[in-house]
Amino acid sequence: MPISFTVNGEERSVDVNPGTPLLWVLRDELRLTGTKFGCGIAQCGACTIHLDGMTRRSCVTPISMAEGSDITTIEGLEGPEADAVQAAWRAIDVPQCGYCQSGQIMTATSLLQQIASPSDEDIDNAMAGNICRCATYVRIRQAIHDAAKTLEG
């Protein structure tokens, strides 16, 4: 039975096993490959998307849970916080290898949507589940602060 949801503003419908992880639907069925596979057990954050406005690890999300939901992936991320985060990321060259960065940006954007001027502690708490194998954590934190300042105007 088809499962229907919205991805980046477009109505989508897939007919797959309801237990299929959302990550595989995004990547293999919908060809949205910006969302990455890292661990498959919600330990690394590379697969982070927004589900109904909240961060969600797509590798542990059965597609059945997505029925009727509104999904945003890195390809469709937009809005003032997303723009500020991506600009800050580019300004100080946050990524090294870049593999984890879509997940990092999804979480950072969600954080700024909820806390306009996050402290170091707010940032660390939000980003604790997004692992970077290149250890770009210092630049990630700086870029989030920079993005917050941009949003202050």
Binding site: Q43, M54, V60, A108, S110, L111, N125, A128, G129
Partner: protein, 198 residues
């Protein structure tokens, strides 16, 4: 005992739900004549559930723990203002409305889930408390979510998140017994005066 009867007994023991054998029934306490002593003994039996890692892991003072060894939650998480994690990394960032079976990579067989999923409020923290202290806390509306004893029974016997403790998903030991039996013990404890162990 013959080899045959021993093997039948072992087969039956293995076939029966192991967890169901771990919690005694209220009738098992009827031989305690003093009602207050019986009530306290019933609570001690309830304590097998209350102090089980399936319950304690989400009744912490600070951050939740994981596993039967109650190790720190990985990835690191905080309680948060709403007992629901940090902004940008809420409980539901990883925990869905149902347990999710993984491929077993890294020895993690499933991600636990239930709707709702959150920590117990800090005033209901049980970690490091004695059973008597947990008992006193459970009876105190200031520290039990404003519940009467009857509402406490309903919570123990019927709440879905409490019930998750007996259906925790692959890779986790269920709480002893069953929620029905836990509810019966709670009922018997209340009916005998809700006494606390010393």
């Amino acid at each position: 005992m013959t080899r045959f009867s021993l093997s039948v007994a072992m087969t039956l023991a293995l076939a029966a739900p192991l967890a169901a054998q771990d919690l005694r029934m209220p009738a098992d306490f009827e031989n305690i004549e003093n009602e207050t002593e019986r009530s306290a003994a019933l609570f001690e039996e309830m304590g097998k559930v209350l102090t089980h890692p399936r319950c304690l892991n989400c009744h912490p003072k600070d951050s939740p723990t994981q596993g039967d060894d109650m190790h720190p939650h990985e990835p690191p998480v905080i309680r948060g203002d709403a007992d629901f994690g940090a902004a940008g990394m809420n409980c539901t960032t990883c925990h869905g409305p149902e347990n999710f079976e993984t491929t077993g990579v890294g020895g993690i067989e499933s991600i636990p889930g239930h709707e709702p999923w959150s920590l117990a409020p800090v005033e209901m923290a049980w970690v490091d408390l004695s059973l008597g202290e947990i008992c006193a806390q459970l009876k105190d509306p200031e520290r039990n979510g404003g519940r009467s004893l009857e509402e406490l029974h309903e919570h123990m016997a019927e709440d879905g998140l409490v019930g998750w403790g007996w259906e925790p998903g692959a890779g986790r030991t269920p709480a002893p017994g069953s929620q029905d039996l836990f509810g019966e013990l709670t009922r018997a404890w209340i009916d005998t005066g809700a006494a606390c162990p010393s």
